[in-house]
Symmetry: C2
Subunit: 480 residues, 2 copies
């Protein structure tokens, strides 16, 4: 009995643990279900286009299934109708550009590979019953190895990767199945026409039912990223860094300032959007040869600015706080630099959004540059002589220096946006006209920062700005 005791104890504890697990199961399941439901709701609310896209895919697939349901259509295409279903599933992407790109890649690659496969089949036929399979195997090997290697070229990978995949697939299928099937030409024809039907129904539905344009997304994401940086630079806690050090207050609403972080890693998203955008026909205010490359330049410069802001953010959050006496001296110039750079970025973003010439950004950037010059002159003056302790000066001087960097970055962004404006023939706005309202999109209602006034036109007569509050800015989250 004494020997059994620990074992039975163990047994009991194991039993109670299993019991506890089963007892807690419904609770945990309910919690999981609630969590998933709230996640789903947030995902749908963040971007309602996701829901529309899902419905569109379902619609296209049901439509193409008609080929199977109705006798006359089925008699025409037979089992090949399967290719239409496959094409819809594989080709239908979130944006019109991606769908068009994939569809065109698929159609052209099928056509080309089908023709080449037929040729290979006929060539192999000449070598008799024994030579045919060897030669066909060799063709498939050479073709697959070459096409796979070509897929590594960065430029081809960006635009024609899917086309090459389908090229390998179709060539192998045609040249190999041709070995069996006498009616190979009919097969190729059926495959091509069903792919065309599937692909074109995708493209038509994706364009007609609430289209998602990659170009528009890129356009908005570039503007949004500039706004995020502007939100940081215009945020009270950045501006009050110098004031607060004076009061010794702790800055505790720093979570607001994390918006810029997503800009740091936006490169791959922007590049894929630009690649998709090139496939898109003209839509809305975007013409066929819209300068999408220039958006990437702006994006790169925005990221450079974001890196500086990241360094700045580290200093604002550091424990070593600047000395109040020093802060108060450079406060004005630094505040002006931060605010004016922020305003300039917001102007640029608004200009890009509304596709108007952001001429009103220029005064802001020159104000920021004047402030930077003033700061340099001020630092050169002898006012500093009494501060021998340089360690106390470092934090504020570093912040000031980073702000000067940010002003330079902002100037570069301004240049590239102005280049975009001239390349894409943005409307130039007459400064005497009354301010327009900006485009109103779905704003994030819980983030008041993104709803800061976005003046389209600034009347500069006596140096004062005339701002009017428009609707919230479009703040869509894009995940491709």
């Amino acid at each position: 009995m004494e020997i059994d005791s620990p074992a039975s104890h163990e047994k009991a504890s194991l039993f109670s643990r299993v019991w506890w697990w089963f007892e807690a199961l419904p609770k945990r399941l309910t919690a999981k279900v609630i969590e998933t439901a709230s996640n789903t709701k947030r995902l749908a609310q963040d971007d309602t286009r996701r829901v529309t896209h899902s419905i569109k895919v379902g619609l296209a697939l049901s439509l193409v299934s008609l080929f199977y349901y109705y006798q006359p259509l089925y008699d025409n295409f037979g089992v090949s109708a399967m290719w239409a279903v496959m094409t819809v599933v594989v080709v239908f992407e979130f944006s019109v550009g991606a769908t068009l790109g994939k569809g065109l890649n698929r159609a052209l690659a099928t056509l080309l590979a089908g023709a080449l496969g037929l040729g290979a089949h006929h060539l192999a036929n000449l070598f008799g019953h024994k030579g045919e399979p060897i030669l066909l195997g060799l063709f498939v090997f050479i073709q697959a190895a070459t096409s796979t290697f070509v897929r590594f070229f960065p430029k081809i990978k960006a635009r024609y990767d899917y086309g090459l995949l389908i090229f390998i697939l179709t060539f192998s299928l045609i040249s190999v199945s041709g070995f069996r099937d006498a009616e190979i030409l009919e097969l190729a024809h059926k495959r091509l026409s069903t792919i065309l039907i599937g692909g074109s129904s995708c493209v038509i539905i994706s364009i007609l039912v609430r289209p998602v344009w990659a170009g528009e997304d890129l356009h908005n994401v570039i503007a949004l990223n500039m706004e995020k940086l502007a939100n940081f630079l215009e945020h009270p806690s950045v501006i009050e860094y110098f004031n607060k050090s004076e009061n010794g207050d702790s800055n505790d609403d720093k979570s607001f300032l994390q918006g810029y972080k997503s800009v740091l890693n936006s490169k791959s998203n922007e590049e894929s959007l630009a690649n998709f955008a090139r496939w898109e026909p003209c839509h809305g205010q975007f013409h066929f040869r819209h300068p999408w490359k220039q958006y990437l330049t702006i994006g790169n410069r925005t990221r450079e600015c974001a890196y500086r802001i990241d360094a700045l953010s580290g200093h604002l959050n550091s424990d070593i706080q600047a000395k109040p006496e020093i802060c108060s001296k450079i406060q004005e110039a630094c505040t002006t630099m931060s605010l004016e750079s922020g305003k300039c970025l917001r102007e640029l973003a608004c200009g890009v959004r509304a596709m108007t010439h952001p001429s009103s950004a220029k005064p802001q950037i020159s104000k920021a540059k004047i402030a930077a010059k003033k700061l340099k002159l001020f630092l050169k003056s002898s006012l500093w002589e009494q501060d021998a302790d340089l360690l106390a000066v470092i934090p504020s001087v570093t912040v000031a220096s980073l702000l000067i960097d940010i002003v330079n970055c902002t100037e570069k962004i301004t240049d590239s946006v102005l280049e975009l404006a001239s390349l894409a023939h943005f409307e130039s706005v007459d400064p005497t006209v009354s301010p327009e309202k900006s485009q109103v999109g779905q704003g994030e209602s819980d983030k008041p920062l993104t709803e800061i006034a976005c003046p389209q036109v600034v009347i500069i007569l006596d140096g004062s700005e005339n701002e009017n509050p428009p609707g919230p800015l479009t703040n869509r989250h894009i995940e491709m």
Copy 2:
């Protein structure tokens, strides 16, 4: 005649232009061919695994084509053998992890969707000849819309995106084609078995013939990125910034310093490698549950450090040069911080590469921290009193401050690498043992910087370091 003259001129000029175009064609074609050939050569030399991969795909595809060539195999599977060819083309990816992930996704999704499709087919059957197509269409719609929406969940998108695509595809095909085909069960069975044959031949070839492990790539890329930062920090032109300002020399070999730039945008590559790595079985020194997530943490911190280095680089390249007198005063501390941070990062990279405990990195980071402290103390001292002109101080103080930031970042990286070392049970090296040589890989022979000595063990007895030069470091370019 007078009226005709401009037209004939135009004609002549058009003709001459066309003639010129055709004349120049061979030259341009030759130039294009030569350019493409050299591009191809570089692409192959940069990473010879690309060539191997292409050959592997060709091999797998030829192997699977046997199903068509040989009568007994064809008799068993018939047209379904096509699915094996398709599976190979679609599933065979560059790394083992990606191939395994896609293969498992495809097999499981086919199995699950096939079963559900069969169920849907039977359910629809109960509603008679009229109700069946309507109900099936509804099923397809609901299933496609739901699965498409589920693909938007970030976690599912990262690992099961392809599985969901195949789920939609198979469900649609099975439930719809079941409407026609009485032998639906046999079809499902054939499809599944051919997919298994195609998928397993991909996986076997990808593992047996010179395997490319995504985990190993991630491991190397993390080490390489730390080395890139070390290259910057240890580069003479960074260290001589303070000296050169003294001599007034212009730094013209700045192109060497651009290596770190690729680190800034490495996030998406690292994340996809980590996702692939999770699918991989144990291989080499990597066990099944290797802490791949920790690599992402190290990657994030390395990027944070790279942002600071980017800011530093801007200051080193700026026209406003620091005053020689000021430079000479903080030169020693700054040089020590930069060099020791660089050495520390190199130690960490070497430790990660060799999978040994990077205990020798700790002395370096503490040296860097001591230098940072010294600098702070020095700046606090009254030595600066004679320099009233703060503008002249700004450049060097900013550089010093950024270097202090970099030391902090390096400390964070050290912590996360040490955590990885304990999580992955890296070998701890006895410091009394004689130094080992590091793993020798394919180095870039034209870049001497990457061949800097990589001491595995540093004997610290009298504070001096004992370095021995091992082979070049593995410097593979990874593009996924």
